[in-house]
Symmetry: D2
Subunit: 145 residues, 4 copies
Protein backbone atom coordinates (compact mmCIF):
# COMPACT_ATOMS: atom_id res chain seq x y z
CA UNK A 1 0.00 0.00 0.00
CA UNK A 2 2.32 2.68 1.27
CA UNK A 3 5.41 3.14 -0.84
CA UNK A 4 8.56 2.56 1.14
CA UNK A 5 10.74 4.47 -1.31
CA UNK A 6 12.79 7.38 -0.01
CA UNK A 7 11.69 10.75 -1.38
CA UNK A 8 15.05 12.51 -1.02
CA UNK A 9 18.18 11.71 -3.00
CA UNK A 10 21.34 10.79 -1.14
CA UNK A 11 22.96 14.07 -2.21
CA UNK A 12 20.03 16.23 -1.16
CA UNK A 13 19.90 14.56 2.23
CA UNK A 14 23.64 14.95 2.77
CA UNK A 15 23.40 18.65 1.99
CA UNK A 16 20.44 19.05 4.29
CA UNK A 17 22.22 17.34 7.18
CA UNK A 18 25.34 19.47 6.65
CA UNK A 19 23.31 22.64 6.66
CA UNK A 20 20.90 21.87 9.48
CA UNK A 21 23.08 19.71 11.72
CA UNK A 22 26.57 21.20 11.48
CA UNK A 23 27.15 20.04 15.06
CA UNK A 24 27.75 16.47 13.98
CA UNK A 25 30.88 17.65 12.22
CA UNK A 26 32.34 19.72 15.09
CA UNK A 27 35.87 18.57 15.87
CA UNK A 28 36.25 16.75 12.56
CA UNK A 29 33.98 15.37 9.83
CA UNK A 30 33.44 11.72 10.74
CA UNK A 31 29.84 10.94 9.73
CA UNK A 32 29.08 9.84 6.19
CA UNK A 33 25.61 8.89 5.02
CA UNK A 34 26.49 5.99 2.74
CA UNK A 35 23.20 4.77 1.40
CA UNK A 36 19.47 5.24 1.51
CA UNK A 37 16.91 2.71 0.29
CA UNK A 38 13.34 1.57 0.86
CA UNK A 39 12.70 2.22 4.57
CA UNK A 40 16.44 1.95 5.17
CA UNK A 41 19.62 4.00 5.50
CA UNK A 42 23.25 3.33 6.33
CA UNK A 43 25.61 5.73 8.06
CA UNK A 44 29.32 5.38 8.74
CA UNK A 45 31.22 6.96 11.63
CA UNK A 46 35.01 7.11 11.30
CA UNK A 47 37.20 5.81 14.07
CA UNK A 48 38.32 9.21 15.31
CA UNK A 49 39.86 10.67 18.42
CA UNK A 50 36.77 12.67 19.27
CA UNK A 51 34.71 9.50 19.74
CA UNK A 52 37.23 7.66 21.91
CA UNK A 53 37.81 7.13 25.57
CA UNK A 54 41.35 6.73 26.89
CA UNK A 55 42.50 3.29 25.77
CA UNK A 56 40.97 3.69 22.32
CA UNK A 57 37.49 2.31 22.95
CA UNK A 58 34.63 4.06 21.21
CA UNK A 59 32.53 5.73 23.89
CA UNK A 60 28.92 4.89 24.66
CA UNK A 61 27.70 8.43 23.91
CA UNK A 62 29.48 8.31 20.52
CA UNK A 63 27.56 5.12 19.63
CA UNK A 64 24.32 6.53 20.97
CA UNK A 65 24.81 9.74 18.99
CA UNK A 66 25.49 7.73 15.84
CA UNK A 67 22.32 5.67 16.29
CA UNK A 68 20.25 8.83 16.76
CA UNK A 69 21.68 10.67 13.76
CA UNK A 70 21.41 7.63 11.52
CA UNK A 71 17.76 7.00 12.43
CA UNK A 72 17.03 10.66 12.00
CA UNK A 73 18.53 10.61 8.53
CA UNK A 74 16.58 7.46 7.63
CA UNK A 75 13.34 9.20 8.60
CA UNK A 76 14.13 12.44 6.77
CA UNK A 77 14.95 10.46 3.65
CA UNK A 78 11.34 9.27 3.68
CA UNK A 79 9.42 12.32 4.91
CA UNK A 80 11.54 15.06 3.34
CA UNK A 81 13.56 17.88 4.86
CA UNK A 82 11.65 18.55 8.09
CA UNK A 83 14.15 19.90 10.56
CA UNK A 84 11.78 19.74 13.50
CA UNK A 85 11.36 16.02 14.07
CA UNK A 86 12.22 15.31 17.71
CA UNK A 87 13.57 12.15 19.34
CA UNK A 88 11.14 10.95 22.00
CA UNK A 89 12.47 7.49 22.91
CA UNK A 90 15.71 5.61 22.40
CA UNK A 91 16.39 2.10 23.67
CA UNK A 92 19.91 0.68 23.46
CA UNK A 93 21.27 -2.81 23.96
CA UNK A 94 25.05 -2.83 24.19
CA UNK A 95 26.20 -6.22 22.99
CA UNK A 96 29.97 -6.22 22.56
CA UNK A 97 32.95 -3.92 22.87
CA UNK A 98 33.45 -2.28 19.46
CA UNK A 99 36.68 -2.83 17.56
CA UNK A 100 39.11 0.02 16.99
CA UNK A 101 37.44 0.55 13.63
CA UNK A 102 34.85 2.72 11.97
CA UNK A 103 31.27 1.91 12.92
CA UNK A 104 28.49 1.19 10.44
CA UNK A 105 24.90 1.96 11.43
CA UNK A 106 22.27 0.04 9.45
CA UNK A 107 18.79 1.47 9.92
CA UNK A 108 15.40 0.03 9.13
CA UNK A 109 12.22 2.00 9.53
CA UNK A 110 9.46 0.08 11.30
CA UNK A 111 6.74 2.69 10.99
CA UNK A 112 6.29 6.03 9.34
CA UNK A 113 3.08 7.49 10.68
CA UNK A 114 1.67 10.99 10.54
CA UNK A 115 2.84 11.82 14.04
CA UNK A 116 5.41 9.19 14.96
CA UNK A 117 8.18 7.41 13.14
CA UNK A 118 9.87 4.34 14.62
CA UNK A 119 13.03 2.62 13.48
CA UNK A 120 15.76 0.27 14.54
CA UNK A 121 19.53 0.42 14.05
CA UNK A 122 22.17 -2.27 14.18
CA UNK A 123 25.68 -0.93 14.68
CA UNK A 124 28.68 -2.99 13.53
CA UNK A 125 32.42 -2.51 13.58
CA UNK A 126 33.44 -2.12 9.94
CA UNK A 127 34.45 -5.48 8.51
CA UNK A 128 32.75 -7.47 11.26
CA UNK A 129 29.39 -9.20 11.31
CA UNK A 130 28.77 -9.02 15.03
CA UNK A 131 26.41 -6.30 16.20
CA UNK A 132 28.02 -4.15 18.88
CA UNK A 133 24.96 -2.07 19.68
CA UNK A 134 21.30 -2.33 18.73
CA UNK A 135 18.87 0.53 19.17
CA UNK A 136 15.25 1.37 18.53
CA UNK A 137 14.04 4.94 18.38
CA UNK A 138 10.81 6.92 18.17
CA UNK A 139 10.56 10.38 16.65
CA UNK A 140 7.71 12.85 16.86
CA UNK A 141 6.97 14.45 13.52
CA UNK A 142 5.55 17.98 13.48
CA UNK A 143 2.22 18.63 11.78
CA UNK A 144 2.75 19.15 8.07
CA UNK A 145 0.26 21.25 6.18
CA UNK B 1 33.76 -17.61 14.88
CA UNK B 2 30.74 -18.65 16.88
CA UNK B 3 28.39 -20.98 15.11
CA UNK B 4 24.92 -19.56 14.86
CA UNK B 5 23.30 -22.93 14.28
CA UNK B 6 20.57 -24.05 16.68
CA UNK B 7 21.52 -27.05 18.80
CA UNK B 8 18.00 -28.34 19.37
CA UNK B 9 15.70 -29.78 16.74
CA UNK B 10 12.31 -28.23 16.20
CA UNK B 11 10.62 -31.33 17.63
CA UNK B 12 12.80 -31.47 20.72
CA UNK B 13 12.18 -27.81 21.44
CA UNK B 14 8.42 -28.16 20.96
CA UNK B 15 8.35 -31.04 23.42
CA UNK B 16 10.46 -29.14 25.89
CA UNK B 17 8.18 -26.08 25.75
CA UNK B 18 5.08 -28.26 26.18
CA UNK B 19 6.58 -29.96 29.20
CA UNK B 20 8.17 -26.98 30.92
CA UNK B 21 5.77 -24.21 29.95
CA UNK B 22 2.32 -25.79 29.95
CA UNK B 23 0.91 -22.40 30.94
CA UNK B 24 1.14 -21.08 27.43
CA UNK B 25 -1.50 -23.62 26.42
CA UNK B 26 -3.97 -22.90 29.24
CA UNK B 27 -7.38 -22.07 27.80
CA UNK B 28 -6.54 -23.53 24.41
CA UNK B 29 -3.45 -24.44 22.41
CA UNK B 30 -2.66 -21.39 20.29
CA UNK B 31 1.13 -21.18 20.14
CA UNK B 32 3.01 -23.09 17.49
CA UNK B 33 6.77 -22.92 17.07
CA UNK B 34 6.99 -22.98 13.28
CA UNK B 35 10.67 -22.79 12.52
CA UNK B 36 14.11 -22.47 14.01
CA UNK B 37 17.22 -21.47 12.10
CA UNK B 38 20.60 -19.83 12.59
CA UNK B 39 20.06 -17.29 15.39
CA UNK B 40 16.38 -17.19 14.45
CA UNK B 41 12.99 -18.65 15.31
CA UNK B 42 9.41 -18.10 14.24
CA UNK B 43 6.34 -18.60 16.41
CA UNK B 44 2.67 -18.39 15.46
CA UNK B 45 -0.17 -17.42 17.78
CA UNK B 46 -3.69 -18.29 16.64
CA UNK B 47 -6.37 -15.65 16.62
CA UNK B 48 -8.26 -17.01 19.61
CA UNK B 49 -10.79 -15.73 22.08
CA UNK B 50 -8.39 -15.94 24.99
CA UNK B 51 -6.12 -13.28 23.43
CA UNK B 52 -8.87 -10.81 22.55
CA UNK B 53 -10.41 -7.75 24.07
CA UNK B 54 -14.06 -6.97 23.52
CA UNK B 55 -14.37 -5.85 19.92
CA UNK B 56 -12.00 -8.53 18.68
CA UNK B 57 -8.69 -6.69 18.98
CA UNK B 58 -5.73 -8.75 20.12
CA UNK B 59 -4.74 -7.44 23.53
CA UNK B 60 -1.43 -5.82 24.35
CA UNK B 61 -0.55 -8.45 26.99
CA UNK B 62 -1.24 -11.21 24.45
CA UNK B 63 1.27 -9.64 22.04
CA UNK B 64 3.76 -9.05 24.82
CA UNK B 65 3.42 -12.63 25.98
CA UNK B 66 3.95 -13.88 22.45
CA UNK B 67 7.10 -11.80 22.03
CA UNK B 68 8.49 -13.12 25.30
CA UNK B 69 7.75 -16.79 24.59
CA UNK B 70 9.06 -16.56 21.05
CA UNK B 71 12.34 -14.96 22.12
CA UNK B 72 12.65 -17.47 24.89
CA UNK B 73 12.24 -20.33 22.44
CA UNK B 74 14.77 -18.76 20.07
CA UNK B 75 17.33 -18.66 22.87
CA UNK B 76 16.65 -22.21 24.08
CA UNK B 77 17.04 -23.47 20.53
CA UNK B 78 20.62 -22.21 20.68
CA UNK B 79 21.66 -22.92 24.27
CA UNK B 80 19.73 -26.12 24.84
CA UNK B 81 16.99 -27.01 27.31
CA UNK B 82 17.78 -24.70 30.23
CA UNK B 83 14.51 -23.98 31.96
CA UNK B 84 15.93 -21.29 34.19
CA UNK B 85 16.68 -18.47 31.80
CA UNK B 86 14.95 -15.36 33.10
CA UNK B 87 13.63 -12.32 31.24
CA UNK B 88 15.36 -9.19 32.55
CA UNK B 89 14.31 -6.51 30.05
CA UNK B 90 11.65 -6.16 27.39
CA UNK B 91 11.12 -3.10 25.23
CA UNK B 92 8.04 -2.84 23.02
CA UNK B 93 7.10 -0.47 20.26
CA UNK B 94 3.45 -0.80 19.29
CA UNK B 95 3.17 0.25 15.67
CA UNK B 96 -0.28 -0.61 14.34
CA UNK B 97 -3.49 -2.24 15.42
CA UNK B 98 -3.23 -5.94 14.59
CA UNK B 99 -5.67 -7.50 12.14
CA UNK B 100 -8.21 -10.06 13.32
CA UNK B 101 -5.76 -12.74 12.26
CA UNK B 102 -3.13 -15.01 13.71
CA UNK B 103 0.12 -13.27 14.67
CA UNK B 104 3.56 -14.34 13.47
CA UNK B 105 6.58 -13.56 15.65
CA UNK B 106 9.89 -13.51 13.80
CA UNK B 107 12.86 -13.57 16.16
CA UNK B 108 16.49 -12.80 15.55
CA UNK B 109 19.14 -13.29 18.23
CA UNK B 110 21.51 -10.35 18.55
CA UNK B 111 23.81 -11.83 21.15
CA UNK B 112 24.24 -15.13 22.88
CA UNK B 113 26.70 -14.58 25.69
CA UNK B 114 27.58 -16.69 28.69
CA UNK B 115 25.36 -14.70 31.02
CA UNK B 116 23.05 -12.69 28.79
CA UNK B 117 21.17 -13.35 25.58
CA UNK B 118 19.59 -10.52 23.60
CA UNK B 119 17.17 -10.75 20.71
CA UNK B 120 14.58 -8.86 18.74
CA UNK B 121 11.14 -9.84 17.51
CA UNK B 122 8.97 -8.43 14.77
CA UNK B 123 5.30 -9.36 15.09
CA UNK B 124 3.09 -9.37 11.99
CA UNK B 125 -0.54 -10.17 11.32
CA UNK B 126 -0.53 -13.33 9.23
CA UNK B 127 -0.59 -12.47 5.57
CA UNK B 128 0.50 -8.88 6.09
CA UNK B 129 3.93 -7.28 5.76
CA UNK B 130 3.42 -4.46 8.21
CA UNK B 131 4.93 -4.93 11.64
CA UNK B 132 2.33 -4.46 14.37
CA UNK B 133 4.72 -4.71 17.30
CA UNK B 134 8.50 -4.77 17.60
CA UNK B 135 10.28 -5.88 20.74
CA UNK B 136 13.78 -6.39 22.05
CA UNK B 137 14.47 -8.60 25.03
CA UNK B 138 17.31 -9.54 27.35
CA UNK B 139 17.49 -12.86 29.19
CA UNK B 140 19.79 -13.84 32.02
CA UNK B 141 21.23 -17.32 31.55
CA UNK B 142 22.10 -19.36 34.62
CA UNK B 143 25.64 -20.61 35.12
CA UNK B 144 26.15 -23.85 33.23
CA UNK B 145 28.78 -26.24 34.44
CA UNK C 1 2.95 26.36 35.49
CA UNK C 2 0.92 23.32 34.61
CA UNK C 3 -1.28 22.04 37.36
CA UNK C 4 -0.49 18.45 38.22
CA UNK C 5 -3.89 17.84 39.81
CA UNK C 6 -6.07 15.06 38.42
CA UNK C 7 -9.24 16.30 36.76
CA UNK C 8 -11.31 13.15 37.33
CA UNK C 9 -12.48 11.84 40.67
CA UNK C 10 -11.52 8.34 41.71
CA UNK C 11 -15.15 7.21 41.36
CA UNK C 12 -15.62 8.71 37.93
CA UNK C 13 -12.43 7.11 36.69
CA UNK C 14 -13.38 3.71 38.12
CA UNK C 15 -16.74 3.86 36.36
CA UNK C 16 -15.12 4.92 33.13
CA UNK C 17 -12.63 2.04 33.24
CA UNK C 18 -15.40 -0.46 34.00
CA UNK C 19 -17.47 0.79 31.09
CA UNK C 20 -14.74 1.23 28.50
CA UNK C 21 -12.35 -1.54 29.47
CA UNK C 22 -14.52 -4.44 30.62
CA UNK C 23 -11.83 -6.80 29.34
CA UNK C 24 -9.67 -6.21 32.39
CA UNK C 25 -12.34 -7.90 34.48
CA UNK C 26 -12.83 -10.96 32.26
CA UNK C 27 -12.35 -14.12 34.31
CA UNK C 28 -12.77 -12.31 37.61
CA UNK C 29 -12.52 -8.76 38.94
CA UNK C 30 -8.94 -8.37 40.16
CA UNK C 31 -7.96 -4.78 39.34
CA UNK C 32 -8.76 -2.01 41.76
CA UNK C 33 -7.77 1.60 41.20
CA UNK C 34 -6.84 2.56 44.75
CA UNK C 35 -5.76 6.14 44.55
CA UNK C 36 -5.17 9.05 42.23
CA UNK C 37 -3.14 12.14 43.09
CA UNK C 38 -1.04 14.85 41.47
CA UNK C 39 0.58 13.16 38.46
CA UNK C 40 0.19 9.83 40.22
CA UNK C 41 -2.07 6.80 40.54
CA UNK C 42 -1.99 3.47 42.31
CA UNK C 43 -3.59 0.26 41.10
CA UNK C 44 -3.87 -3.11 42.85
CA UNK C 45 -4.08 -6.48 41.16
CA UNK C 46 -5.30 -9.39 43.28
CA UNK C 47 -3.32 -12.58 43.43
CA UNK C 48 -5.70 -14.63 41.32
CA UNK C 49 -5.61 -17.83 39.34
CA UNK C 50 -6.04 -16.06 36.03
CA UNK C 51 -2.70 -14.26 36.46
CA UNK C 52 -0.68 -17.31 37.48
CA UNK C 53 1.57 -19.81 35.80
CA UNK C 54 1.73 -23.38 37.08
CA UNK C 55 3.62 -23.23 40.35
CA UNK C 56 1.84 -20.09 41.47
CA UNK C 57 4.16 -17.44 40.03
CA UNK C 58 2.50 -14.35 38.61
CA UNK C 59 3.11 -14.39 34.87
CA UNK C 60 5.10 -11.79 32.96
CA UNK C 61 2.13 -10.83 30.76
CA UNK C 62 -0.02 -10.31 33.88
CA UNK C 63 2.56 -7.85 35.25
CA UNK C 64 2.93 -6.17 31.89
CA UNK C 65 -0.83 -5.83 31.56
CA UNK C 66 -1.05 -4.33 35.04
CA UNK C 67 1.64 -1.76 34.25
CA UNK C 68 -0.14 -0.76 31.06
CA UNK C 69 -3.60 -0.43 32.63
CA UNK C 70 -2.25 1.45 35.64
CA UNK C 71 -0.35 3.98 33.50
CA UNK C 72 -3.37 4.33 31.27
CA UNK C 73 -5.55 5.12 34.28
CA UNK C 74 -2.99 7.60 35.60
CA UNK C 75 -3.08 9.45 32.28
CA UNK C 76 -6.87 9.44 31.99
CA UNK C 77 -7.14 10.82 35.51
CA UNK C 78 -5.27 13.88 34.25
CA UNK C 79 -6.62 14.35 30.73
CA UNK C 80 -10.19 13.18 31.28
CA UNK C 81 -12.18 10.32 29.78
CA UNK C 82 -10.53 9.94 26.36
CA UNK C 83 -10.92 6.32 25.39
CA UNK C 84 -8.63 6.57 22.39
CA UNK C 85 -5.22 7.07 23.92
CA UNK C 86 -2.92 4.39 22.50
CA UNK C 87 0.16 2.76 24.01
CA UNK C 88 3.16 3.38 21.74
CA UNK C 89 6.11 2.21 23.85
CA UNK C 90 6.57 0.12 26.97
CA UNK C 91 9.91 -0.71 28.54
CA UNK C 92 10.09 -3.28 31.34
CA UNK C 93 12.85 -4.22 33.74
CA UNK C 94 12.05 -7.42 35.62
CA UNK C 95 13.87 -7.24 38.91
CA UNK C 96 12.71 -10.06 41.18
CA UNK C 97 10.28 -12.92 41.26
CA UNK C 98 7.02 -11.59 42.71
CA UNK C 99 5.65 -13.06 45.93
CA UNK C 100 2.43 -15.06 45.94
CA UNK C 101 0.64 -11.86 46.85
CA UNK C 102 -1.37 -9.09 45.28
CA UNK C 103 0.69 -6.62 43.25
CA UNK C 104 0.64 -2.86 43.73
CA UNK C 105 1.44 -0.61 40.78
CA UNK C 106 2.58 2.89 41.73
CA UNK C 107 2.53 5.27 38.76
CA UNK C 108 4.12 8.64 38.30
CA UNK C 109 3.51 10.76 35.22
CA UNK C 110 6.69 12.22 33.76
CA UNK C 111 5.10 14.27 31.02
CA UNK C 112 1.62 15.16 29.90
CA UNK C 113 1.94 16.81 26.52
CA UNK C 114 -0.62 17.59 23.86
CA UNK C 115 0.28 14.54 21.82
CA UNK C 116 2.27 12.27 24.12
CA UNK C 117 2.05 11.29 27.74
CA UNK C 118 4.91 9.47 29.46
CA UNK C 119 4.93 7.78 32.84
CA UNK C 120 6.71 5.25 34.97
CA UNK C 121 5.40 2.45 37.20
CA UNK C 122 6.98 0.58 40.04
CA UNK C 123 5.30 -2.73 40.82
CA UNK C 124 5.61 -4.24 44.30
CA UNK C 125 4.32 -7.35 45.98
CA UNK C 126 1.83 -6.16 48.57
CA UNK C 127 3.55 -5.74 51.91
CA UNK C 128 7.04 -5.69 50.44
CA UNK C 129 9.30 -2.75 49.61
CA UNK C 130 11.29 -4.41 46.86
CA UNK C 131 10.30 -3.50 43.33
CA UNK C 132 9.56 -6.62 41.27
CA UNK C 133 9.07 -4.85 37.96
CA UNK C 134 9.68 -1.32 36.77
CA UNK C 135 8.20 0.04 33.57
CA UNK C 136 8.07 3.24 31.56
CA UNK C 137 5.39 3.85 28.98
CA UNK C 138 4.48 6.33 26.27
CA UNK C 139 0.92 6.97 25.11
CA UNK C 140 -0.26 8.83 22.05
CA UNK C 141 -3.16 11.14 22.82
CA UNK C 142 -5.68 11.86 20.08
CA UNK C 143 -6.31 15.43 18.99
CA UNK C 144 -8.82 17.05 21.28
CA UNK C 145 -10.93 19.87 19.96
CA UNK D 1 17.15 -7.49 54.41
CA UNK D 2 19.75 -5.93 52.20
CA UNK D 3 21.19 -2.68 53.45
CA UNK D 4 20.72 0.12 50.96
CA UNK D 5 23.55 2.19 52.38
CA UNK D 6 26.42 3.18 50.07
CA UNK D 7 29.74 1.57 50.97
CA UNK D 8 31.97 4.26 49.48
CA UNK D 9 32.30 7.83 50.73
CA UNK D 10 31.59 10.69 48.37
CA UNK D 11 35.27 11.63 48.35
CA UNK D 12 36.50 8.11 47.65
CA UNK D 13 34.06 7.73 44.79
CA UNK D 14 35.02 11.10 43.29
CA UNK D 15 38.68 10.11 43.37
CA UNK D 16 37.92 6.75 41.84
CA UNK D 17 35.94 8.29 38.98
CA UNK D 18 38.70 10.84 38.32
CA UNK D 19 41.31 8.11 38.18
CA UNK D 20 39.41 5.47 36.24
CA UNK D 21 37.25 7.62 33.99
CA UNK D 22 39.39 10.61 33.07
CA UNK D 23 37.52 10.77 29.77
CA UNK D 24 34.52 12.41 31.33
CA UNK D 25 36.68 15.46 32.01
CA UNK D 26 38.20 15.76 28.54
CA UNK D 27 37.61 19.25 27.15
CA UNK D 28 36.79 20.69 30.56
CA UNK D 29 35.70 19.46 33.97
CA UNK D 30 31.90 19.64 33.96
CA UNK D 31 30.71 16.62 35.95
CA UNK D 32 30.38 16.83 39.70
CA UNK D 33 29.10 14.01 41.85
CA UNK D 34 27.08 15.99 44.37
CA UNK D 35 25.62 13.43 46.68
CA UNK D 36 25.30 9.75 47.41
CA UNK D 37 22.71 8.18 49.69
CA UNK D 38 20.80 4.94 50.24
CA UNK D 39 20.35 3.48 46.75
CA UNK D 40 20.70 6.99 45.32
CA UNK D 41 23.17 9.44 43.83
CA UNK D 42 23.04 12.89 42.28
CA UNK D 43 25.36 14.20 39.58
CA UNK D 44 25.57 17.70 38.10
CA UNK D 45 26.73 18.55 34.59
CA UNK D 46 27.70 22.17 33.94
CA UNK D 47 26.22 24.01 31.02
CA UNK D 48 29.37 24.01 28.91
CA UNK D 49 30.29 24.50 25.30
CA UNK D 50 31.38 20.91 24.87
CA UNK D 51 27.85 19.63 25.52
CA UNK D 52 26.06 22.04 23.20
CA UNK D 53 24.79 22.02 19.67
CA UNK D 54 24.77 25.22 17.64
CA UNK D 55 22.01 27.39 19.09
CA UNK D 56 22.94 26.52 22.66
CA UNK D 57 20.78 23.43 23.18
CA UNK D 58 22.32 20.62 25.20
CA UNK D 59 22.83 17.69 22.86
CA UNK D 60 21.12 14.33 23.17
CA UNK D 61 24.43 12.45 23.50
CA UNK D 62 25.50 14.81 26.31
CA UNK D 63 22.32 13.96 28.23
CA UNK D 64 22.69 10.27 27.48
CA UNK D 65 26.32 10.34 28.63
CA UNK D 66 25.31 12.08 31.84
CA UNK D 67 22.63 9.49 32.59
CA UNK D 68 25.09 6.66 32.03
CA UNK D 69 27.87 8.15 34.18
CA UNK D 70 25.47 9.07 36.97
CA UNK D 71 23.94 5.59 37.12
CA UNK D 72 27.38 4.07 36.97
CA UNK D 73 28.50 6.18 39.92
CA UNK D 74 25.33 5.28 41.86
CA UNK D 75 26.11 1.59 41.39
CA UNK D 76 29.80 1.89 42.30
CA UNK D 77 28.85 3.76 45.46
CA UNK D 78 27.02 0.61 46.54
CA UNK D 79 29.23 -2.19 45.24
CA UNK D 80 32.61 -0.54 45.71
CA UNK D 81 35.33 0.37 43.21
CA UNK D 82 34.80 -2.23 40.46
CA UNK D 83 35.94 -0.65 37.23
CA UNK D 84 34.59 -3.43 35.05
CA UNK D 85 30.85 -3.03 35.35
CA UNK D 86 29.45 -2.75 31.83
CA UNK D 87 26.32 -1.00 30.56
CA UNK D 88 24.04 -3.53 28.89
CA UNK D 89 20.81 -1.60 28.35
CA UNK D 90 19.77 2.04 28.42
CA UNK D 91 16.27 3.32 27.72
CA UNK D 92 15.65 7.04 27.34
CA UNK D 93 12.48 9.08 27.21
CA UNK D 94 13.14 12.64 26.07
CA UNK D 95 10.45 14.80 27.59
CA UNK D 96 11.29 18.47 27.08
CA UNK D 97 13.98 20.67 25.61
CA UNK D 98 16.48 21.38 28.40
CA UNK D 99 17.05 24.96 29.52
CA UNK D 100 20.39 26.69 28.92
CA UNK D 101 21.38 25.62 32.40
CA UNK D 102 23.35 22.95 34.19
CA UNK D 103 21.64 19.57 34.32
CA UNK D 104 21.02 17.59 37.50
CA UNK D 105 20.81 13.79 37.29
CA UNK D 106 18.97 12.17 40.18
CA UNK D 107 19.53 8.40 40.32
CA UNK D 108 17.68 5.72 42.19
CA UNK D 109 18.83 2.11 42.20
CA UNK D 110 16.02 -0.38 41.58
CA UNK D 111 18.04 -3.54 42.01
CA UNK D 112 21.54 -4.46 43.05
CA UNK D 113 21.98 -8.12 42.27
CA UNK D 114 25.04 -10.31 42.07
CA UNK D 115 25.20 -10.09 38.29
CA UNK D 116 22.98 -7.18 37.31
CA UNK D 117 22.28 -3.74 38.71
CA UNK D 118 19.35 -1.68 37.49
CA UNK D 119 18.60 1.96 38.13
CA UNK D 120 16.65 4.94 36.92
CA UNK D 121 17.65 8.57 36.42
CA UNK D 122 15.58 11.71 36.19
CA UNK D 123 17.41 14.63 34.58
CA UNK D 124 16.33 18.20 35.34
CA UNK D 125 17.52 21.61 34.30
CA UNK D 126 18.97 23.21 37.41
CA UNK D 127 16.34 25.26 39.18
CA UNK D 128 13.43 23.61 37.39
CA UNK D 129 11.12 20.83 38.49
CA UNK D 130 10.25 19.48 35.07
CA UNK D 131 12.07 16.35 34.00
CA UNK D 132 13.78 16.82 30.65
CA UNK D 133 14.94 13.25 30.23
CA UNK D 134 14.22 10.02 32.08
CA UNK D 135 16.36 6.93 31.69
CA UNK D 136 16.60 3.41 33.03
CA UNK D 137 19.80 1.42 32.78
CA UNK D 138 21.09 -2.10 33.37
CA UNK D 139 24.70 -2.89 34.21
CA UNK D 140 26.44 -6.24 34.22
CA UNK D 141 28.65 -6.71 37.26
CA UNK D 142 31.72 -8.91 36.95
CA UNK D 143 32.15 -11.90 39.23
CA UNK D 144 33.68 -10.79 42.51
CA UNK D 145 35.78 -13.25 44.46
Amino acid sequence: MTSHQPIMTLDALREFLDREFPQIHVGGRTYELEEIGPFSARMRMDYHEKHLRPGGTISGPAMMGLADVALYAAILAHIGPVPLAVTTNLNFNFLRKPEQQALIADCRLLKLGKRLAVGEVSIYSEGSEDIVCHATGTYSIPDRR
